[in-house]
Symmetry: C2
Subunit: 277 residues, 2 copies
């Protein structure tokens, strides 16, 4: 199953990058200023075992910075982490594979989006992941569309998932020092092992497949609409708060930095430009 | 002594802001693009007691963002911090006053600088502070000039200070996940109570007075030299790493955020624009 999951995450990376490149080519805005741009892929290997492929599209017409990372790593958790991770307290051996995406669009009208799904194996096995949206200008229509699509996906597996995972998302993606949520939410789940791992994998695949289907319409709704300079300022400020969350609170970022992860791959989530005016 | 120190920090804020405004007016570069600009002052009060004055100059000709903060706060340390702070483990009552400066110049040729001095009173009393330089393009000449000025100031008080406080600075302002120092160093000291508090206050005053005398020549050396777009990119990348340090490692930032400090005043140290390309 580890191989099957890992291969699937890798193939999802390829598919999503093609889908995003196709959106680059569909936009007709800023044709004179910006060229439709492709992903660049960089393989990296981890000292302790395994590695990954970082996919980044920089300076595109629709996407100012789009990071689509795949990794499959294994080894021993450092002692300080092993005690915090299910099934690793006595044996720190682990295997983990997943895909992680953060998209910073050029237009302040197109929302930032984040999606991640992963499989982790210690003496226990589980899935984790989620998808959440961070518009600079939230609208009820977009928020309802996004959440209804996420709920539909959840409901196909377990009708308790959406409420439970939405709550986890709201709690996790919260900028405590500003008393505000990072975005308009979505779902976040971890330690998912329902007793039917095949089914849990299918759920994670469904979340992965949802990504482009829920993001494409939001991108296409806005990507040909011109914007004002003042809106770019709002976007730079929103991105600054996104950066604050990722550097101060995000456990994945902290884990990566403290375990000698690949800095470029970890920080692919950070915005191409942000402003604390 | 609390009043004397606090009044002195406040008067230093006023003096330094005038000095920086004078540098704004002396530059002849970018006259068409940017106006010489003045500081804006905002008073804030702290829920637990005391408050401060945030001084910010934004969008100037020489300084893209210059933050010069004064504060004088008092109250009770939250339990989780009291145990970590000298003399506060049994009685969490504290008083603290100081000045904190971070300057983000417009030109990538002019170094970023940070200076801070403070007096803290619990059941113990001490001084802390420091000054350190972060050039985008370090040169031996500038680094040697900066350190020699800092050493001269230290040597007037105790010939062991410079080596000891330089080492603390190198250890503290280190970006661990990148295995690189934040800048070219300076001095950093804390819990300074030599047994002669008057003398320790004089030392902190000397560090405070050093700021403009060591920074003015560095600003004037570069502030009329045009720069290239590629150098602005280097600057934005250096600022991104500065942001990483402040959000991930800086204890002052963490303390402020966790104790409900004034967000605007805390983040006045963050750059007006930064890039993770």
């Amino acid at each position: 199953m580890k191989n099957i999951a890992s291969n699937w995450f890798k193939s999802l990376q390829d598919k999503i990058c093609l889908d995003l490149e196709s959106l680059e080519n569909q936009s007709i805005l800023n044709e004179d200023q910006f060229r439709a741009t492709s992903f660049t892929f960089t393989d990296w290997s981890r000292d302790g075992g395994g590695g990954g492929t970082m996919g980044v599209l920089r300076g595109g017409r629709v996407f100012e910075k789009a990071g689509v990372n795949f990794s499959a790593v294994h080894g021993q958790f450092p002692a300080e982490f092993a005690s915090k991770i299910p099934g690793a307290d006595k044996d720190p051996t682990f295997w983990a594979s997943g895909i992680s995406i953060v998209i910073h669009p050029r237009s302040p009208l197109v929302p930032i989006i984040h999606m991640n799904t992963r499989m982790i194996v210690t003496t226990k096995t589980w899935f984790g992941g989620g998808i959440d949206l961070t518009p600079v200008y939230p609208t009820d229509e977009d928020t309802e569309f996004f959440h209804s699509q996420v709920k539909n996906t959840c409901d196909q597996f377990d009708t308790s998932y959406y409420d439970k995972f939405k709550k986890s998302c709201d709690e996790y993606f919260y900028i405590h020092h500003r008393n505000e949520p990072r975005g308009v939410g979505g779902i976040f789940y971890d330690n998912l092992n329902s007793g039917n791992l095949e089914q849990d994998f299918e759920f994670s695949k469904a979340v992965g497949n949802l990504f482009i289907n829920v993001y494409r319409p939001l991108v296409k709704k806005y990507f040909n609409i011109p914007w004002e300079t003042a809106q770019t300022q709002d976007q730079l400020h929103k991105r600054a708060k996104y950066t604050e969350f990722n550097l101060i609170y995000d456990k994945g970022t902290e884990f990566g930095l403290k375990t000698g992860g690949n800095i470029e791959a970890i920080f692919v989530s950070l915005p191409p430009m942000a402003s604390w005016q």
